[in-house]
Structures are given as structure tokens and as C-alpha cells.
Amino acid sequence: MDEIDRYIINTLQDGFPICDAPYQQVAVQLGLTERELIDRLQALLDNGTLTRFGPLYHAELMGGALTLAAVKAPPERFDEIVGIINAFPEVAHNYARNHALNMWFVIATETPEQIQHALTTIEQQAGLTVYNMVKIKEYFVGLKLEA
């Protein structure tokens, strides 16, 4: 990643135009050619520096449902619990965290009812209490990370 890549990453976290030739428009701002910009974006995606490039949708406004949930997985059953939880296609992310509540996962479904169903099923299969940390209110989502 060189200075030009950093400049591209920093600029494109702020947004991207909706017009006939948006790469051309941004490339001019960056002092690049359209081809250079597209090739560099492709490379940044291919090497994992960017996880995505495109529109970010607001899941709930799209009619979908999301929640964050956590369990206390006993250390001796940790891998087994990971297997149970990750087997659910509704589980989008799952992270180990340094707390008694040591496994935190995000469930995404098409309807709120399906969230509840997934939580109940996970409780039954894992034999653990699932703490539903459902969002009550969103104050902010977004971040610009300086590259």
C-alpha cells in the first residue's frame, strides 16, 4: 500500500458519486486516470485491504432484522459452542471476547420473528442462556479510518 492507495482509501470512505462515469469523476479529483483508480481498487479488494466497495445498506430499513447476542461458553465446551452457533446461516459474525460473556454474535434475518426463533434454537442446542443485546436505539454508525 503506497501513498496513492492511502489517498484512495481515505477519499472513498467519504462517499462515491452516483453519475454516469463516477470512477472518472473521482479519478480526476485524485489526479489519476480512470483505469488506474479501478485497477488500484481491484487490487485493494483482492489483497483484503478493503473488505467491500459499494453501497452500505441499513438492514432494518430494508425490512430485515438484526441483533447482537452473547453467551457464556464454558472453556471446555468453547469449540463445540462455536460449531453450534456458526452452523446457523443467520449468524453473520461471531467474535470471541475477553469477558465472562465470551462469545458475541450478530444474527441477521428477514423478519424479527426469525431472530427470536434463531435465539431460542441456539439456546436449546447449546444448553446456554443467550443474552439478547437487541438494539434499543442507534446513535451513530460509521467511521472513517485514516489509512
Binding site: 470512505q13 454516469d20 485491504t49 453501497p55 430485515g64 443467520e90
Partner: protein, 161 residues
């Protein structure tokens, strides 16, 4: 908010994995969907105005940019004032997500969540202190949970729409 129709959902499905890396990406989407670029752009502008599209842009991998310290800070603050506090914390430039979530007493007393990101433990410690200073006496307890391992990470792609 206007209800989304089939065209909006089709655009969402076609772009969830990303925007085509071609000189005329909206034209490319239009061709896939049998629509005109004009319709695609009009709909996407409308969805952006309604907040359905939060933004169009690049999403960096935190770790690849050196942000290896990603903490979920959690705070116990009075419910009566949480909205005011949440708005303030959400405006801090290092906070990526800020939410009101439920307590689960007695083991989980925290109701305000703020994700913070730094390149060193020292960075994150300063950020946490900044949040604590902002909350002042309303801070009735806090904790910071760091992710120790990614156990699963996928897109929401197939789940929506």
C-alpha cells in the same frame, strides 16, 4: 419513509457484494436488471436520501490499516439521560458504532455501547478516558471487551431482501 418496491430490492441484491469496477457501474447494474441506468441512479439517490443506503464507499479492513485494537466499550448510564449521552459519544471521531442496548441484571448492568478503534493500546486507553470524561458522574460502571478471535465473519448478503 417510502416503502421499498421490487426494483429497490433488486438493486440492493445486485449491489450488496459491491459496485461493479467498470467505467459505468450503474449502467452495468441496469443491464443486469433489464432497466436503464437512469432508473438505477434515481432509485439509489432516493435510497441514499432516505438513509436506506447509509453511504456508498470503501470499507477498509481495520487490521490491514493497523487498527489492531478494537474495543467494545460498555457503560452503565441512567436511562433518563442515555439518549443525550449516546448522541454525544456517537459524535466522537473514533467511535464507529454507538447504541442503547438492554441491561441483563445482575450480570450485565451496561446499557450504552460504543465501539472504539486504535493502533495501540495507548490510543484506545485515551479514547476510553475521553468517553469517561464526557460521561462524568453519569458513568456508573464500565467495561471494555476486546475481540480475541474472529470466529465467523460473513456478509449479510443472502439473508436480506
Amino acid at each position: 419513509m417510502n416503502k421499498l418496491d421490487e426494483t429497490d430490492l433488486a438493486i440492493m441484491r445486485a449491489t450488496q457484494a459491491g459496485l461493479p469496477l467498470t467505467p459505468e457501474p450503474y449502467q452495468r447494474i441496469a443491464e443486469q436488471l433489464g432497466l436503464t441506468a437512469e432508473v438505477i441512479m434515481t432509485r439509489m439517490i432516493a435510497m441514499q436520501e432516505q438513509g436506506i443506503i447509509r453511504r456508498i464507499g470503501a470499507v477498509p479492513n481495520h487490521y490491514k490499516l493497523g487498527y489492531r485494537f478494537n474495543g467494545m466499550t460498555v457503560w452503565n448510564v441512567p436511562d433518563e439521560i442515555i439518549d443525550e449521552l449516546g448522541q454525544k459519544i456517537g459524535q466522537l471521531e473514533f467511535v464507529s458504532h454507538c447504541y442503547h442496548r438492554p441491561r441483563h441484571l445482575p450480570e450485565w448492568p451496561y446499557n450504552l455501547f460504543a465501539m472504539v478503534h486504535g493502533k495501540s493500546q495507548g490510543d484506545v486507553d485515551k479514547q476510553i478516558q475521553q468517553i469517561a470524561d464526557l460521561l462524568g458522574d453519569y458513568n456508573q460502571g464500565c467495561d471494555v471487551l476486546y475481540s480475541t478471535k474472529i470466529l465467523k465473519k460473513t456478509g449479510f448478503r443472502s439473508r436480506l431482501g
